[in-house]
Amino acid sequence: MMDVGRHPKIKTLVNSEVEEVSGFVGNFRARIRRNPRYVVAEDCTACDECARVCPVAVPDEYQQGFSSRKAIYLPFPQAVPSAYILDMENCLGSEPIACGRCAEVCEKKCIDFDDQGEVLEVPVGSIVVATGMKVYDPRMNDEYGYTRFDNVITSMEFERLICAGGPSAGHLVRPTDRRTPKRIGFVQCVGSRSATRGVPYCSNICCMNTVKQTLQIHEHYQDASTTVFYMDIRAFGKGFEDLYRRSRDNGTRYVRGLPGNVEEDPETRDLVVTVENTTTGKLEQHRLDMLVLAVGLEPHKGNGKKTVDEILNLSHTSDGFVLEAHPKLKPVDAPTRGIFFAGCVEAPKDVKDSVTQASAAAARALNLLGAGKVQVEAITAMLDTEQCIMCGVCTRVCPVNAITASNKKQKQFPSIIEAACAGCGTCAAECPTDTIAMRHFSDAQILAQVEAILAEDRMSKILTFACNWCSYAGGDMAGTSRLQYPPSVRLIRTMCSGRVDEKFIWHAFRLGAPLVLVSGCHFSDCHYIDAVTWTQKRVEKVWSRMEKLGIRPGRLQLEWISAAEGQKFARVMRELHEHLHRVTPAEVEETIRILEKQPPVPGRSKTAVAAATA
């Protein structure tokens, strides 16, 4: 951190919030609000004179509330810049100045009660998101008596207590009597791996953190006894199994089972923990001086009004962590080009993994800037202004803001920023006049695939549109998992389900497709942020039109299948194979007859387009 602070090419903006980011890869503009510090950081020598005279004491957040700090304070010893900050919420007041003692004693005269902060506009080429994590709050469910018993603490609090720079200078004391605890218990998976309390995923670091903490205890206090209550220990990293073995060899007892009850002895303030040891099948009672809850991790999305997801238009998985462009091939890239991830904002991870990912993200960002040019995959959209009616639909639906807005009054057509275009094809599918074409996955290519599939034996085929990232990959997963599904499925791959134009669906029905399936990513997994919502709206529109025309809507099916859902892919295909038998040749012939009288996209005649955009 010190190195970063001193680096001539790194500008650090602390106590600041990114409010808005516009632009695209290589040409982002970030609006950053620097909050007032009330201390001129460049002049402050961190002499501590101001804090000594400050009459206000509040709990110190850095020390997890185990000690206090003043209203003017150094956030933590290694803070960069090494300068004090005034916490105006707790200061006695600056308008009018109610106390002002800090300003009186500051020799450098760096207290500035009039600091208003500032708003900066910064041009940047690429962005690394590293907003980190927060820990599960055990107060919400009063986990293991956390809100009632002072000697039940979290692993974060324990970390401060055992740290040499902590409130007790590294001497482990228990909160109620400042006595060194001799019997210490740890409860694993607090707020993790639970469908009902906290989060369903494994927080990744808690097991090894507990192993480390038991080793620290035995290093400092040979007579201490430690017990870990766990479901299973996940010691999967390099050298981790060795650490776990050392912890056991040092005398830490690992009890397989999570406590069912925690009570406090009102006299001694000791904790009585009841647990079913699932290895022996026996109920055990443990008398402990202190109980440490290994709390899980959650993504942290910033402190400002908007979350980082909203500011950067990022998609996230169902657990709230940001979604990478590809889990294997682009694990540190956001779907939006020029944005990268580092650390726990992407998934819970330890220091080593965070550093690895941060190095990768820095290298990816540097690569991009060093090249000076951006190589674009030839899957982007193209716009033919001759047919454009400036309806604004393309700009509205583009998930990565790659299409500039049109202006009818100024006869200004929309334009596609190719460097920003991710190639999802939603604009091309939504454009009512077919003004937008795709460089690949073009209308002609997709329509030709539809025709080829339905050229022979059409009644035995399920025409399936599958998006590249999720449902197509789900089909791959089904295949590699050796899951059986009927051969009637015929896949047409698109980058995003948002590319599936109404006219592809109608063309298929016109050619006698008995059953069409549109499949894509779950809403939370969409690699093009919210493009999948346009897929759903479009399919709903086609259903409604089918109904009006007297075509059974059930012949158009919709399914969200993730890359990991090979089983779902196979199940859906088996179900649809059954469904296929419900469609009779007469029904298909009738559909063809109905559609003969309709324009390529029923309901979208030239007059309808004009009416819709008027």
């Binding site: 109904e547 059974r552 009779t584």
Partner: protein, 60 residues
């Protein structure tokens, strides 16, 4: 504003009530079969669907 509307599953024909907000597009899943082919039930189909009369009857 969300209101309760009737939905029909185009996979298993199950019909059920769920919250609906015209302004918000949400992922829908049939509570009976788990399919995502869930359609807002229209008040009146304009025409009787052609051909097939062999569909399963509504369950819900």
């Amino acid at each position: 504003m969300a209101e309760m509307k009737r939905f029909e599953c185009l996979r298993c024909d199950h019909r059920y009530m769920a919250e609906y907000d015209r302004k918000v597009t949400v992922e829908r899943t049939c509570p009976s079969c788990g399919s995502n082919s869930v359609k807002l039930e229209s008040k009146k189909p304009a025409k009787k669907p052609a051909g097939n009369t062999n569909t399963a009857s509504a369950k819900g």
